[in-house]
């Protein structure tokens, strides 16, 4: 309901230090309503009615600071808590002037360093002088720090730019090497292809013989199976009417699938493909395949295949083990990814090596095989060499794609690591690589995140994510808040949310612009 008051600068700086006396005189000489900044004082004239600063209302001056809110913009109550959206001006002579919310006026707590927000005299000590002086000292220290930091930063930038240039040079060299290596690889590939054609033709006849052998074996198998089915049919057909019926199966305990001592009609029908009876031909085709495993089971010839999941459960009967296994899987998963990269080009030639040990080849064929094997090996070598070069190129390209901030200032941090110790852990930040945690007593690292990106365009926060998964929680991640400091230093670590870490890191690389402004002002005024 209250329109907001005109925006005032959050802070304004009073020229003091040498002018303290003047300030004090001025505050005592120029009467002003409580909580009004000097600049607004002319608007509060006791001789006239007061006009709300938004011009919405005119009220008798006696209603200014009378602890009742009349103006929608709160301007009639600069020195009380009456208006909920009002502000109170702390002059804070000797220190920085500020505005506080009206809700803090006369609430028993000293908010302004000059104590003017509390009505009871003596309730609050005026400690603006001390605060102002230490603020000055702090500002001076910051300024020194910044100056030193900036110098270091300059050399870091220089180094960063140099590093980048070196990498670029290397990239050119590798690119040339790659072209050469690819040429060799292609030659080797052609040689391999030619010899493999010959080898393949020679092996073809052997393959035909093999397949014929297989076919004969299969036929014998089928015949045997059919005979078995027919024998079983005859055995089951107890009334010898050439048809196997449900009732006939019910007398056979083999079909008692639920092991309750009785073969129900449903159980029997299951084996007869839901039919009541079956002729021999139907039996062989429809019933036999389902029945056979049970008969074998009965004879102790057969163990049913166990689904993988069931087996695991049996080995780990208590659910309790699951998280561990999950965690293991995840870790394995990470490794798998790396493995996969290596396997990106499946080695097609492997199938050629499936030579049947039972077959002996004639001398000519054997010779061809040996030559082909040699050609394959040479090709693999050449191919590997291309890939090695490519991998170097990829690495450099990744580096070149990394954003090391303005002027490459952060580049020298790459490849370095910084530690922070609390009472239980050692935390480690390796910028542009990873964040980790290590128990002081233990040896193994927990990855709190891998380099992901800058959190924003100001280059004051980094994100490391995809860390190790938490027990029953998300993957760990870490944000790193970056600030200007005279040396590279990990200054604090916290875990505001479970598995979400927050590091603070100081580095000269962050010593530029933003931080300078506030300090400059004071210096200018001095």
């Amino acid at each position: 309901m209250m329109p907001s008051i005109p925006k005032l600068p959050a802070k304004s700086y009073v020229l003091c230090i040498l002018l303290i006396v003047v300030c004090e005189i001025s505050t005592s000489e120029v009467p002003r309503p409580r909580g009004v900044p000097l600049s607004h004082n002319p608007l509060y004239n006791p001789a006239k009615d007061f006009v709300c600063l938004d011009n919405s209302l005119s009220i008798p001056f006696s209603q200014v600071n009378d602890d009742y809110c009349d103006c929608p913009d709160a301007s009639d109550e600069p020195g009380t808590s009456a208006c909920i959206h009002g502000t109170f001006f702390c002059m804070n002579v000797g220190h920085t002037s500020t505005y506080i919310s009206s809700s803090r006026v006369n609430d028993g707590i000293c908010d302004c360093c000059d104590g003017t927000d509390e009505y009871v005299k003596g309730k609050c000590a005026n400690n603006c002088q001390e605060l102002g002086q230490s603020a000055m000292k702090e500002a001076a220290r910051q300024s020194e720090l910044l100056k030193a930091g900036k110098q270091i930063r300059a050399s870091m930038c220089e180094m960063g730019i140099k590093l980048k240039a070196e990498k670029k040079d290397k990239l050119v060299i590798f690119a040339a090497q790659k072209i050469e290596a690819e040429k060799i690889m292609r030659e080797k590939e052609q040689i391999k292809k030619n010899i493999e054609e010959l080898e393949s033709a020679a092996l073809e006849q052997y393959r035909q013989i093999e397949e014929e052998n297989k076919r004969i074996k299969q036929e014998e198998e089928n015949k045997k199976n059919r005979q078995e089915a027919e024998d079983t049919f005859v055995r089951f057909d107890s009334n010898k009417d050439g048809i196997v019926e449900v009732s006939e199966l019910q007398s056979l305990h083999t079909f008692d699938r639920d092991r309750n001592g009785e073969v129900t009609v449903e159980e029997a029908k299951y084996f007869l493909n839901s039919k009541d009876s079956m002729s021999l031909e139907d039996f062989v085709v429809e019933a036999w395949p389902a029945m056979k495993p049970f008969l074998m089971l009965d004879e102790g010839l057969y163990k049913p295949p166990q689904p993988a999941g069931v087996g695991e459960v049996e080995e780990v009967p208590i659910n309790g083990e699951e998280p561990t296994t999950e965690a293991e899987f995840e870790e394995e998963g990470v490794n798998e990814e790396e493995d996969e990269e290596d396997e990106e080009h499946p080695e097609e030639e492997e199938e050629h090596e499936e030579t049947n040990p039972e077959v002996t080849y004639d001398e000519e064929t054997q010779n061809l095989i040996e030559k082909a094997t040699a050609a394959r090996s040479e090709f693999t070598e050449a191919d590997q060499s291309v890939r090695d070069i490519q991998s170097e190129i990829t690495k450099i390209e990744e580096y070149l794609n990394k954003d090391f901030g303005p002027d490459e200032a952060f580049a020298p941090l790459e490849g370095e690591c910084f530690d922070y110790m609390d009472y239980e852990y050692i935390y480690r930040l390796c910028p542009f690589d990873k964040a980790t945690q290590q128990q002081k007593s233990g040896s193994s690292d927990t990855r709190l995140g891998s380099w992901s990106k800058w959190s924003n365009q100001n280059y004051d926060a980094m994100l490391y994510d995809r860390g190790q998964s938490c027990w029953n929680g998300p993957q760990r991640s870490t944000t790193v808040a970056i600030s200007c400091g005279s040396e590279n230093k990990l200054t604090s670590v916290s875990e505001p949310n479970r598995c979400e870490y927050h590091f603070t890191f100081e580095t000269p690389a962050a010593c530029y612009k933003a931080t300078t402004e506030g300090i400059k002002d004071i210096h200018d005024e001095l």
Binding site: A82, S103, R104, I318, G320, N472, G473, P496
Partner: protein, 905 residues
């Protein structure tokens, strides 16, 4: 061992992954006594009251009550406030039966009764407007309000007391005489747990029929609607009362959760009757409501022209104890609830700050974390009164210690909080870590303070610290010892501004049957845990209360508890436990708190945002808006959730949460006054609509609306992306309601569709009320103590209104020495006056009257005059808002301790 521990931790984890595991908790069928009692044959009662043995005294009747196997002494006592107590115990019991101690607020006040009629078959007595008819055979008791029968005990003949007996020998020859016993009568297994039941069966049951009743309420705590549903064999399980730590509890079930108050209210348009089943053992209650049974019978009645008779049947079943029942005859809801409060007591006046905003999380990591959170609240202009610490502040879950690294300067932290007017609440749980060198464990072992197992060895269970034991708070020596742990020299690092949160006091035992203590564990006085289970949480808070009062004799304690029983209101506030960040859980917070409030415990709240999982911003801000209108106002979150402090959100979400908080802070004087009045009258602070509008049949099932006293009505908005809410405005066309957001007036003519946006939920001031507010919200409530008041006068149809305001020092017991102001405001004939209800009470308040806002005033007033006994008449400016809905009287400026008259002209 390490492996076992790991497996155990894992079992917990599995539970975390899903919602409630029903298999961990018994159904009636899995509980021997519930099975036995539910099987008792209806309309075939074997109980006879032998009226030859009748003895009449001034306040009571006494006679032998017989069944074929045993004789009981039955007593009916007349109590003040239209209440009767039924009591029955065995005349010569094999063992003493347990009689509850600690729930009642002292001995109930007796009243005289008068015998009207006496024959061999019945006795009729009279007591004020009530009559009671005792019928000998079969045993039955009818309760009358004037000449209307409103409750009948043993109407269905289910009354049972299993007398204690010698265990029958297991005879090899197979005895034909013994009736077939329930297999669980003498020992019972549940999952892997064995209950040895050394005393055998000792259960009891009683049915009550309430003719004319159309709804049943009460029996908290259940995560269910306010109006009780019908239960019955083969359908819904009975409402179960057995304090349990239920992980991720389900909604809309009759399953037991953390607390138990065995009070039932049967409500009809003419009469509301209450039954307080005074029993601390496991209890199940079947409810049958004629509205839910049998549509056929109503058709038959329709055809036959017979009037459909409304009734509610209840069947109370407990595992052990004497029969001790209070029947409260109302006749109106407010009367019955006050009658119940007369028995079990009221919440003593809490400190003012306890109604402010509480910020909790499992866990704020360390002292810096606490400091930063408070600073962020201040930066974001979010009022905050109390910071909370969950279990991680301790040194390895050893209560009464602080983590030596993270909380090594706890007094500095506490003093930092109080420097801006804040307080700290820390958790203290009953389980004690079994670690040698831990003083509490050593003391407890050396002095024999722990609960024992059936073989007399100290009971060992599993809880947060790992292996734990449980002090026996039924032992007065333990009470003295443990309460003394709260003294400042014992609880090193604490200060007088530390208050206490008692959690896990069902008690929670991770590896016990149903996550609690086995029933055959043994307490002080040789009582088994089965006899006293539901009292454990209450006794624990009683100990805390004692400790805090001894520590700070002139500061009112604040204690939050999860487990509770009848009478817990005398010691602690409660919250609805581990809810979830779901809209359905937001919705259930009103019905749950309303039910608990009817059970005597008004100081109720639900974790804002939901404990488990992450709320989206809309759910979170809605939760703040809805929770503004429940007494206990705390945000809390599970350790696995993302942080959700209001300052972490976008500016629009922040703005809405800030507004909700500020609205709450503006109304703190109202909450404080309501709790003051509760402490004097026993009336609940939050009320369902049927409480104030008992004749309105439309309000019976409304539990998403809550009345605060007789002045505010809030409706929960608990749907995602809601653009409107259905609001029932009760009271008829004579009743006015004023929308709090724009002062638009409505009449109480039933359902309206109220448009909502993210800025507000429907909240109304009741026409005829005067609400005192402090419209200058600050960082913390303590900083507002001297701030001026604004009165919101909501006129009724006769252009009049009334309201009260209570003022004192906000924290001490000085009010007991009459250092307070209890003010009544009246508005009538265009004139607002005040008067002091307790004229001998005085408090030198610095607060004054800043403004009067009159809603529903006619639009032709030009000015007002203020008269005080001393001063001259003063002219006051008046103005209207642009819509003419509110009239504002500018700055009367009179002190709240002065008498005044303000007249509009």
């Amino acid at each position: 061992m390490a492996r076992a521990m790991r497996l155990f931790a894992f079992a917990l984890l599995v539970a975390i992954a899903a919602s409630v595991d029903r298999n961990n908790f018994k159904t009636c069928d899995q509980s021997s006594f519930c099975r036995r009692l539910r099987k008792v044959e209806q309309d075939n009662s074997k109980y006879i009251l032998n009226l030859d043995t009748l003895q009449v005294s001034a306040h009571s009747l006494e006679a032998d009550l017989l069944n074929p196997d045993a004789t009981f002494k039955f007593t009916l006592t007349a109590l003040a406030g239209n209440t009767f107590r039924l009591f029955a115990d065995e005349i010569k019991p094999l063992h003493k039966r347990y009689k509850v101690v600690g729930a009642l607020d002292g001995e109930p006040k007796l009243t005289k009764l008068e015998v009207l009629e006496r024959t061999k078959q019945e006795v009729v007595i009279k007591c004020g407007d009530s009559k009671v008819k005792l019928i000998a055979e079969p045993f039955k008791i009818e309760f009358y309000n004037k000449d209307t029968v409103v409750a009948v005990v043993n109407a269905r003949g289910l009354f049972t007391i299993e007398h204690l007996r010698v265990k029958p020998q297991e005879q090899a020859d197979g005895n034909e005489e013994l009736p077939k016993e329930d297999p669980g009568a003498w020992e019972e297994n549940f999952k892997s747990h064995h209950d040895s039941k050394p005393r055998g069966p000792e259960a009891l049951a009683m049915d009550v029929t309430f003719p004319g009743a159309i709804r049943a309420y009460g029996l908290p705590e259940h995560a269910d609607h306010l109006a009780l549903r019908s239960t019955g064999p083969g359908a819904t399980d009975p409402y179960r009362l057995y304090n349990l730590d239920v992980f991720e509890y389900e909604l809309e079930t009759t399953m037991a959760i953390y607390g138990a108050v065995p009070v039932l209210y049967a409500h009809g348009p003419e009469n509301t009757v209450g039954v307080f089943w005074h029993n601390s053992a496991e209890t199940w209650v079947d409810i049958s409501n004629s509205k839910d049974t049998n549509v056929v019978s109503s058709i038959v009645n329709l055809v036959s022209g017979k009037k459909d008779e409304n009734k509610v049947d209840a069947h109370f079943m407990s595992e052990s104890g004497v029969l001790d029942v209070f029947v409260m005859l109302g006749p109106k809801p407010a009367d019955v609830v006050k009658q119940y409060a007369a028995l079990t007591g009221v919440a003593p006046l809490p400190q003012y700050f306890t109604f402010g905003y509480h910020q909790c999380r499992w866990n704020y990591n360390d002292e810096d974390d606490v400091k930063n959170v408070v600073e962020k609240f201040d930066e974001g202009d979010f009022p905050l009164d109390v910071m909370w610490l969950d279990i991680e502040y301790t040194d390895g879950k050893k209560y009464f210690t602080w983590d030596p690294v993270k909380f090594s300067h706890s007094t500095v932290m506490l003093n930092n909080l109080t420097a801006t007017g804040r307080k700290l609440v820390a958790i203290i749980d009953p389980h004690v870590k079994r670690e040698s060198g831990y003083f509490l464990h050593e003391d407890a072992l050396n002095n024999d303070y722990y609960v024992k197992d059936k073989d007399g060895k100290v009971f060992e269970g599993w809880c947060w610290p790992g292996s734990s034991s449980y002090p026996d708070f039924f032992d007065p020596t333990v009470v003295d010892y443990y309460s003394n742990l709260y003294s400042l020299d014992k609880f090193k690092g604490s200060t007088e501004n530390l208050y206490i949160w008692n959690d896990m006091n069902e008690p929670s035992v991770f590896n016990g049957p149903e996550i609690t203590m086995g029933k055959d564990m043994v307490h002080y006085g040789n009582w088994e845990h089965r006899h006293v289970h539901n009292l454990y949480g209450l006794y624990y808070t009683m100990v805390t209360m004692k400790g805090l009062q001894a520590r700070s004799p002139n500061k009112r304690p604040f204690i939050l508890t999860r487990a509770f029983f009848a009478g817990s209101q005398r010691y602690a506030a409660m919250w609805t436990g581990d809810n979830a960040a779901e809209w359905s859980h937001l919705a259930i917070s009103y019905p749950m708190c309303l039910s608990v409030a009817l059970g005597g415990i008004s100081f109720c709240g639900a974790d804002i945002g939901g404990f488990f999982h992450n709320p989206d911003p809309e759910l979170l801000l809605r939760w703040y808006q809805v929770a503004t209108w429940l007494p206990f106002f705390r945000a809390h979150a599970h350790i696995d959730t993302k942080r959700r402090e209001p300052y972490l959100y976008g500016s629009d979400v922040q703005m809405r949460i800030r507004n909700a908080l500020k609205l709450r802070y503006a109304h703190l004087p109202m909450w404080y006054t309501q709790f003051w009045e509760h402490s004097r009258t026993g009336e609940p602070v939050i009320r369902p609509l049927f409480y104030e509008f008992p004749e309105d049949s439309n309000v019976l099932d409304i539990d998403n609306q809550v009345l605060i006293g007789k002045s505010v009505m809030a409706t929960a908005v608990s749907q995602h992306s809601a653009s409107s809410a259905s609001v029932y405005l009760p009271g008829g066309s004579e009743q006015l309601w004023y929308d709090l957001s724009d002062f638009k007036s409505y009449t109480g003519s039933g359902y309206i569709t109220y448009p909502v946006n993210l800025d507000k939920i429907p909240v109304f001031y009741m026409g005829g009320s005067i609400v005192s507010r402090k419209d200058r919200p600050r960082r913390a409530s303590s900083l507002m103590h001297d701030d001026p008041y604004t009165l919101y006068v909501s006129l009724d149809n006769n252009k009049s209104a009334t309201g009260t305001l209570y003022i004192d020092d906000s924290e001490s017991y000085e009010y007991k020495k009459k250092k307070y102001l209890y003010i009544r405001f009246n508005y009538k004939d265009n004139t607002l006056t005040n008067s002091f209800i307790d004229q001998d009470a005085k408090y030198p308040t610095l607060s004054w009257l800043e403004r009067v806002v009159v809603l529903g005033a006619s639009n032709n007033f030009r000015y007002a005059t203020l008269k005080t006994p001393k001063g001259e008449d003063t002219i006051l400016q008046v103005s209207y808002d642009s819509e003419g809905r509110s009239l504002i009287i500018r700055k009367p400026g009179v002190s709240m301790r002065e008498k005044f008259t303000i007249t509009l002209h």
